[in-house]
Symmetry: none
Subunit: 205 residues, 4 copies
């Protein structure tokens, strides 16, 4: 029976990096890369500046590590998507739902987009990585569902880049959540319903 109450020194030590990265996430988010002080990150977990430098060589490397830390890719989401059964339409609908759920539940995913936009010109790698890890896989999966639907006669033939258009409302939803945060409440259910209705029915009679 392991003792859960107290962390041994070794465990403590092992958690430090994660602790720092979590604190860094909050601080960098709130103030941006340049305005965040290493000391604020340290204070947030009750250590001093120097301690941060024990684990990370520079503020820049800490930022990059933090980005890697919060970038837990869509793998699981796409894995779930692959396991779906049913028509292409049903599976696409379910996938879109999963994406909305993820956007609402995973704050780090949302804020990662903020870092991509806000710090993208300072840290170009994160832009590329973000595209490779999130946008592109999602796009491909949606496109393959569309292609399948078309092949099976479920969907009509579509122009190029249609997957982008299909996914776009979810992206816009994410961006609005980012911008307005808690200032304006965006209701996921309403938004999702409108999105699905658009995708599956279009506008015309």
């Amino acid at each position: 029976m392991p003792d859960m109450k107290k962390l041994s020194r070794a465990e403590q030590k092992a958690r430090r990096p994660t602790q720092i990265l979590d604190a860094a996430f909050e601080e960098f988010l709130e103030r941006g890369y340049v305005a965040t002080r290493v000391e604020d990150i340290a204070n947030r977990i009750g250590v001093t500046k120097g301690t941060i430098y024990v684990y990370f060589e520079t503020k820049e490397q800490l930022f990059e590590a933090m980005i890697r830390h919060i970038s837990v890719p869509f793998e699981d989401l796409l894995a779930s998507a692959h396991e779906l059964k049913g028509t292409a339409a049903a599976r696409l609908e379910r996938l879109i739902e999963l994406v909305y759920n993820r956007i609402v539940e995973d704050r780090q995913l949302r804020e990662l987009m903020k870092f991509v936009i806000a710090e993208g010109s300072r840290f170009p790698q994160i832009v590329d990585r973000h595209h490779e890890a999130f946008i592109d896989p999602l796009d491909r999966h949606v496109q393959s569902l569309i292609d399948e639907g078309v092949k099976h006669g479920e969907f009509r033939p579509m122009p190029a880049a249609f997957a982008d258009a299909v996914v776009a409302p979810a992206i816009a939803f994410l961006v609005f959540k980012l911008i307005f945060d808690d200032r304006r409440i965006l209701d996921k259910t309403t938004y999702l319903k409108a999105h699905l209705d658009l995708v599956f029915n279009g506008l015309l009679v």
Copy 2:
């Protein structure tokens, strides 16, 4: 024949504020609010940093003035939209086209979105102003076109927030242009075609 070679003091002075604001736009864009040095803005137009302070009291006020400077609202675009003739569908299609054109042509509009996201927590006013001046008017106009189309039997009845979903792909297009800038080419025509196809035909057969 007037002497065109040099600007008189008076002319020079009249141009200074605009000149500074344009330079500020470029610098703030490239490095963000905090990392931009007032001196860089000054250097960009060949003056010294003191000169900036002749026209703007603080870096903060300069930033805010710059944001106002680049926020030329959609008024003209919406005015054009109001003058459109034809069915609701035709007018909606044309409006979406106009929006894409604007996104492609108006770099300042695009980058304004970047400032909203990146500096929104430092300058909350710009978030609200952006919503009032851009998002909201566009949304309302689209919604009124939809309502009209529904009334005339052109469009089927739609769930709430449908206008958001209809506009969303344009927003996503803007955000992608922002993020990838020149790193990845986004073809407006392809994107627009997919968007319109989605809106007017949905996905299903």
Copy 3:
């Protein structure tokens, strides 16, 4: 009958220096030499910075000119003192009264002492000039009255530097007025009475 209402341009011009010096006095007084901005002095008389430099080469020279401007020596006071009649005691009493009156009435004299103390190490000349123009003549005159009184048997023989001690309470009164300005009211009459009583009666029975 001269037109008093408006100053001609020439008159205007002739007054400028005085106007500037008066404004300089107020500003330098309030903030001290270093913290006073040439622009504040200009604003006070409704002109711009540049105008000050038409009349004075540097801020330093302006300060020095201001000091000279407000240093209207004791000549008249001492002249009045010379015209006094009566016993040495009566004349000394009257002189002390005149000094108190001057301290109370002549704000510039009082504030000159402040400049001497506050800016003395930056402008050593004003220290010397102040001594020569004010302290020393007064001291000498008091000393000569004392000597005369001693010679006539009015006063007992006195140790060296007695004039200083006789004048000292007036100096202290001035300094307190300077320090407390309007924060603590110092009543001239009470103070003067105590001073004269001390000088003419001492403390003992």
Copy 4:
């Protein structure tokens, strides 16, 4: 035998604040609050400007701390005065002597008066504090000695504010020492003798 050559970190640290305050005293004295550069204070003790900010938040707070640092009140002097024996006259004479000694020996006390006059309008607290800690206690003590002397028939009845007049020559002495510093030598003995002679014998035969 302890190693005297170098101070340990801890010792160094403990001394820093005092070291800084002493250096600040000298610099502020020489140039006044506004003209003193934090860097000069730092250089004086061989550290860099950043170090000052480790111990004091702003130049203003440093100045105020410095004033508190040099304001070691009269408590000991008044305590000594309370222990005096003898007639009221003898005790008053001794008190006046103690005050002169203090003025001559305690440079910080003298210069405090300079700060009160020169920076009083920028730091009004120091004016009040100075009055409460120095002027007022001294005045009260002198007044109580006078009252006692009057009660015992040693002194004749005196008008109001007499204590001020009795103390005034010492204040004037202090102010002159301040103004002329080393430019003009003021001999304490001569001055004190004249002062006591004035107080105890007045001017008249």
